[in-house]
């Protein structure tokens, strides 16, 4: 028979050894995992401007097309810039900003909140790409919006989600849904109106997009995400237009 003392010691040693092994593995594999996450983020940004990429060439294409990255604050001021791979202002990397954390700061009215904006040059055309993040039905949803030079018309979007219902809410990640956004506008005579994802949307209306049938809460989540995240960039957009 085993004594209680033995059982306690056995369990303790087992757990400590396991924890040590897991810590080692986690620390050792972290660089590879971080690289995968970086590459995925680049692929999503490239996707928003309609450039297909594979995990292998994403980094190269990103450097080629995304010539400028800026971090802007809620007042519309640039706090950091990287132009052609060189830090020209500030010290932080706009690409490295955690959208979720920064949005939380913004919601708490913290003046230090800043979000990235990427400038893409493709075939001589300039486009501005901004990340958005919000909540769907089951978890977070996020995406990137690419605007044309007028900072009003959308040229491309992509959305992704953590775990929306397949066939319903998860449809926001399909091209059919995303292509609807092309050509939509977020300003109505200089007033920020965002884009609404709704049932029986009027195709001719530049501020409406058809919702996913059976995915009402996810669709509303997309509307809400666009409105709240784009709000952040409005001062910056206005400062560029002047």
């Amino acid at each position: 028979m085993f004594s209680n003392r033995y059982i306690f010691i056995y369990a303790t040693v087992l757990v400590i050894v396991s924890a040590a092994i897991l810590t080692l593995a986690s620390v050792g594999l972290k660089p590879y995992q971080d690289k995968n996450i970086r590459v995925e983020k680049m692929q999503q940004l490239l996707g928003a401007v309609g450039i297909q990429s594979t995990p292998k060439d994403a980094e190269e294409l990103f450097q080629k097309y995304f010539v400028e990255q800026h971090a802007v604050n809620a007042k519309g001021e640039i706090v950091a810039s990287i132009v052609n791979g060189k830090q020209t202002a500030g010290t932080i990397s706009p690409f490295g900003l955690d959208t979720k954390k920064q949005l939380a700061l913004y919601k708490a009215n913290d003046a230090s909140a800043s979000l990235p904006i990427y400038i893409c040059m493709k075939d001589g055309k300039k486009s501005y790409v901004v990340p958005v993040m919000g909540n769907g039905l089951w978890g977070p949803i996020w995406g990137n919006l690419a605007f044309s030079e007028d900072l009003n018309t959308i040229v491309g979007v992509n959305f992704d989600h953590k775990g929306e219902t397949p066939g319903l809410g998860a449809e926001i990640a399909t091209l059919d849904f995303q292509n609807q956004f092309k050509g939509k506008q977020i300003f109505d005579n200089d007033n920020f109106t965002s884009i609404k994802v709704m049932k029986r949307a009027d195709k001719a209306n530049p501020h409406q997009v058809d919702a996913v049938s059976g995915g009402t809460i996810t669709s509303n989540g997309v509307s809400e995400m666009l409105k709240s995240c784009l709000q952040f960039y409005i001062p910056y957009f206005n400062s560029l237009k002047k």
Binding site: F2, Y10, A11, I21, A25, E40, G163
Partner: protein, 206 residues
């Protein structure tokens, strides 16, 4: 150490197959087999976890206090599953995203706990290791079969490469979208069990 007991690998492939005969591990078999690639990665992951947890538990079996044996088994299984998950995240990121929670759920896969309790707790390490490999492969055979059938007829491709030529689609052929839904996997498992039992009468219950 006893010699190489080939039966330990061969039996789970057919007569003691974990999915079709013991009916274990069905949940993940339905969830990850819509495409071949995740099915293969899942099969390898489960095989690795079963084989090594069997090996480790079998080495420890005489030191494990019976009162906490399930907890000890769970700790070992979780340890291996988390390691597998971390490795997948580092080296096959896209597949690991498709498998999502199902890698973590290997911990609760009945095949793993079943083999630990039924075999590793009372057999020698090397035999237990072979038993783990055998059961993992038995699971793999079914997963890969499902993956091939479902991806071929559901998406017209295998391992992501298009197999069914465009000319078929032009002639009106369509992918069967039921194939990529979980219910079809259950129906396919049913068909496999049916065929398997029809050919092995001794498996049929009286």
């Amino acid at each position: 150490m006893a010699g190489f007991n080939f039966k330990l690998i061969k039996n789970p492939l057919s007569k003691e197959n974990p999915i079709t005969v013991q009916v274990l591990g069905i949940c993940s078999a339905l969830a990850v087999t819509a495409k071949l690639q995740p099915a293969v990665v899942m099969a390898i992951s489960v095989t690795v976890v079963v084989a090594f947890s069997n090996l480790i538990i079998s080495y420890l079996r005489n030191t494990i206090p019976p009162r906490i044996r399930i907890i000890v088994q769970l700790v070992i299984v979780s340890l291996l599953v988390i390691l597998v998950d971390q490795v997948l995240k580092a080296f096959v990121y896209d597949v690991s995203k498709q498998l999502s929670v199902f890698v973590g759920l290997i911990i609760t896969n009945c095949i793993v706990m079943g083999r630990l309790e039924a075999f590793a707790m009372s057999n020698k390490p090397f035999d237990s290791f072979l038993d783990g490999i055998g059961n993992g492969l038995g699971y793999a055979v079914i997963l890969i079969t499902l993956g091939v059938v479902r991806e071929l007829f559901g998406s017209g491709s295998l391992w992501g490469y298009q197999i069914i030529p465009d000319s078929f689609y032009e002639m009106g052929y369509q992918n069967n979208s039921l194939m990529i839904m979980p219910p079809m996997a259950l129906i396919l498992v049913g068909i496999i069990i049916w065929v398997h039992r029809a050919r092995n009468k001794d498996l049929c219950e009286k």
